[in-house]
Amino acid sequence: MSGLRRWAPLASLLVGALALGWSSSSRADVAQEPASPGGPAVFRRLDETQYKRSIEDIFGAGIEIPGRFEPPLREEGLLAIGASKVVITPSGFEQYELRAREISAQALAETRRKAILPCEPASSDKFDDACARRFFAKYGRLLFRRPLRPAEMASISKVARAATDGTHSFYQGLQFGLERLLVSPNFLFRVESAEANAGGSGAHRLTGYSLASRVSFLLWNAPPDEVLLDAAKSGELQRPEGLERQVERMIASERFAQGVRAFFADMLGFDQFDGLSKDQSIFPKYTSQLSKDAEEQSLRTIVDLLVTQRGDYRDLFTTKTTFLNRNLGSLYKVPVDDSAFGGWMPYAFGTSDPRAGLLTLAGFLILDPTHEGRSSPTIRGKSVRELLLCQKVPPPPPNVDFKLVQDTHNPLYKTARERLTAHRDNPTCAGCHAIMDPIGLAMENYDAIGEYRMQENQAPIDASGKFDGKPYQDAIALGQILHDSPSVSNCLVERAYEYGVGRTASAGEREWLKYLEQRFATDGYKFPDLARRIVTAKAFQAVSADGAVTVALNQPARADQPSAP
């Protein structure tokens, strides 16, 4: 998709002229949206956060969720795309089965039972079919993100009945039935299905329930709530004004921030914080808490600028505004009195302070699991190229001959720049390192944990360089160049769309993405507006004719047919 990055930045000319409010222009915009063939419906494994959030949303807080989750997979820049490729392994399933038992037992424990049961059974030691069906209809719909089909209801009730008979307890019976829901692939995966497009244009579209999940996971990183499921049931969600109404509600909700956090955590590779470590004998300030705080600081900065302030996405690369806690105060050499702010104090770096934008915050600088004892300009440069510019850096050639010395203690090459320059003299390496190193060298004033430094091994650090032909003196100036680069904002657009649909954009979607990029600019680079445009677009629910679902389309029974409770 990198070809998409090269469209002329004409959008920026339109910014001032078209800063219209969304609601007045949105309906017309949908009409202007270029046709998009859509892509296949996808089949995504819930990730750990989504699983845990589902349980919490559905059964309430306080349920302990044990066991190891299957590791995520990053594909084409996003875990959200990897989720459409991963499977459930035997040992992974074993853990899901364990989790299902523990969750069911807690959900139906005496203390919680009353709150979650929609009915009182006729007897606590006999199977009450009507009550069981009401229970499974309610939780089945929430867990499967659509109503249970009659066959599913029958299958689940059968389990519950047998278990009630075996244990002489209706609640235990429900517990086994709930386990049955929790280990089902219909819960563990987000199953998308499509239907013929009502307009008869030839392309297919997602069913209302599948659309509800796409919208909900993109905006909230959570399963659809009852209101959204009701809107899918009534058909409201598939009418433009009905969809808009739901989307407005969801963006206005506090939970939108958690969706924004999840998206940026994926796009910025924050999964790498898991297990991240730096050598404490080299960096005494490093603790595992410091990397947690660094991650949290970046996410708070993002949510504050994009959601709370409704700011310009590009300002993330230049902003002086952030949040600090006491632990980070020591890293940034700022006295922190966080007592009034629940641990996190809003803070604006001074003009002379060498911090501005995400790239100068520890959350970016520290995030290199391959180097625990020093900074790596190569990795930092690679991160900027791949995560923020959506460019692919080729892997190192297999038969590299590293004749030149790379040793932090070598008196001839004191700084990373000197060492890497030696590296770049080698023509095999030069091509790719020229793509990565200059960007990373701009950040050499920050060590491996993000602490500011002027020198390395007593030699002054030169952080200057050029990006896209524009010279800069340091990371702050580079941040300004990135701020102004259309590649940066276009990359966000592409990633946000791909994150939402769980696959890479297809060649046929090029026009649609171009359109989206232009609109992002005319909207003033407001992330909530971008999210709104994506989830309300026809492209977002379009399913290609050759997509995954042709078989389902041929089935007489609609996938979303509800069962009688």
């Binding site: 190891r68 459930i88 075996g166 386990e179 280990v183 004998s281 391959t370 590293f402 995954a548």
Partner: protein, 448 residues
């Protein structure tokens, strides 16, 4: 050893890492006349494991010169000396790309483990274009034990695993000894030598839950696209594994004389710092060994680290993988001394695994005698990502089916020959293995 030591005490000593060799009488009533089969006539169970280390070797300091028996042990292989007659060394077995790219730190391991050079990946992960050998073996011999296989990684990262069912999902590794202990020896463990056997009635209900989920299959297969149907299938395969596991828990386990319930390990720091990694290796390894002895699994996979190894000495700024590329070759020594530290230590760690396996007496041999363990790395010389003459060892004798203690030179043949030979020695009806340039139907006659 004094006479006051009970079997239990002795084994606990072994599990605590003590260096004693344990000679345990397997009660005669369990054995046939010559100690190589159980009294029932069933042969002693055969097991299989893989043991992976990253970033290769220094060829001149690792590969023996002498081919055949009594091969010479160079410095880097010296740690396996106590087990030399149980270890086969392979040289000259290559990853033959046949026009595919050499994916750095990926092609080599997949070639040996799957018999197919992969087309996508690099830097320790990517796609397996065929199932890894441990999966094939566990399909053949793993279904009668509680766990079809157990995976462990020693640097704290559960995604470090080279066990794959084809595709890009790894069978995740256990990284924390406390968690692995709970999984194997927690409340669901049934002591094969326990006098009481009372299956938990809840197991039947758990099985009925899983069996009922199969009702969802048909509808799901109709809903998802062709590419995702394989993923649905994998889900149901995994489900059936757990179902089978539950089924076994309803049966009285066969006695396993060498089985002793180990103590729960203490919580300890994990991560890529060398001292933590080997402590983790030994703690996880001890549990794996007891899982084998107690018939909880017949297949296991160990990853000492990821292929571009992030193992690191405490206080050192640079990890093993970077060292291989960046450290100068010491002109006097002729190798990179810092990198070599990890290569030598990797073999010491492998020897420690062999020690654990060889310390458990079983029949008239040891656990190691009743298994094969394939140990390898993804490169020959990591500095230049070379994949010719991959360093490959096979330890054990598969209950006498494998002639161990020799050095075999493959003279440039594909390394898939080793995987093929292993499968045949384990009694699997496999005539050829691998594809493209890696395809072979030629087992290695020197060892079978």
């Amino acid at each position: 050893m004094t006479r006051k030591w009970t079997r239990r005490k002795v084994l606990k000593g072994v599990l605590a890492g003590s260096a004693v060799t344990v000679a345990l009488p397997l009660l005669d009533c369990f054995l046939d006349g010559n100690g190589e089969a159980l009294a029932s006539g069933a042969p002693m169970p055969v097991r299989f494991g893989t043991w992976f280390w990253g970033c290769g070797v220094n060829a001149a300091r690792w590969f023996p010169d002498k081919v055949g028996r009594d091969y010479d042990l160079k410095t880097e292989l010296l740690p396996i000396k106590p087990y030399q007659d149980k270890v086969t060394v392979f040289s000259g077995f290559n990853c033959l790309l046949g026009g595919k790219p050499n994916l750095a730190h990926w092609s080599g391991i997949m070639a040996t483990y799957t018999g197919v050079c992969p087309t996508k990946g690099g830097m320790g992960n990517g796609t397996a274009d065929a199932p890894t050998i441990d999966c094939l073996v566990s399909d053949a011999i793993g279904s009668r034990s509680r766990f079809r296989s157990l995976e462990i990684a020693c640097t704290g990262q559960s995604n470090v695993s080279y066990s794959m069912r084809a595709g890009s999902t790894v069978n995740p590794s256990e990284v924390n000894p406390v968690n692995l202990y709970k999984r194997i020896f927690g409340p669901e463990f049934q002591d094969p030598n326990g006098s009481e056997f009372k299956p938990d009635p809840a197991i039947l209900l758990r099985r009925s839950v899983l069996s009922s989920v199969k009702d969802d299959r048909e509808q799901l297969m109709r809903t998802v696209g062709a590419a995702d149907r394989a993923r649905v299938d994998q889900y149901f395969t995994s489900l059936r594994d757990t179902e089978q596991q539950l089924g076994l828990m309803l049966e009285r386990p066969a006695p396993a004389e060498a089985c002793v319930l180990p103590k729960s390990p203490a919580e300890a720091e994990t991560g890529p710092v060398w001292d933590n990694a080997i402590r983790t290796h030994d703690a996880l390894g001890q549990l794996i060994v007891m899982a084998l002895a107690c018939n909880q699994t017949r297949v296991f996979n160990v990853a000492l680290s990821t292929a571009p190894s992030n193992l690191r000495k405490a206080g050192s700024a640079v990890a093993f993988h970077e060292l291989t590329h960046e450290e100068p070759i010491d002109q006097q020594l002729g190798y990179q001394p810092e990198s070599t530290f990890f290569m030598e230590k990797s073999m010491e760690t492998f020897a420690s695994m062999l020690h654990l396996l060889d310390s458990v007496k079983e029949g008239n041999g040891t656990l190691l005698d009743h298994m094969l363990i394939l140990a390898t790395s993804e490169s020959n010389y990591a500095k230049i990502h070379s994949i010719d003459s991959l360093p490959i060892l096979v330890a054990g004798t598969a209950g006498g089916k494998w002639k161990s203690g020799v050095h075999v030179n493959g003279k440039g043949d594909p390394c898939s020959r080793i995987g093929l030979t292993i499968q045949q020695a384990l009694g699997m009806p496999v005539g050829s293995w691998g594809s493209d340039a890696m395809a072979t139907s030629k087992p290695i006659a020197e060892v079978i």
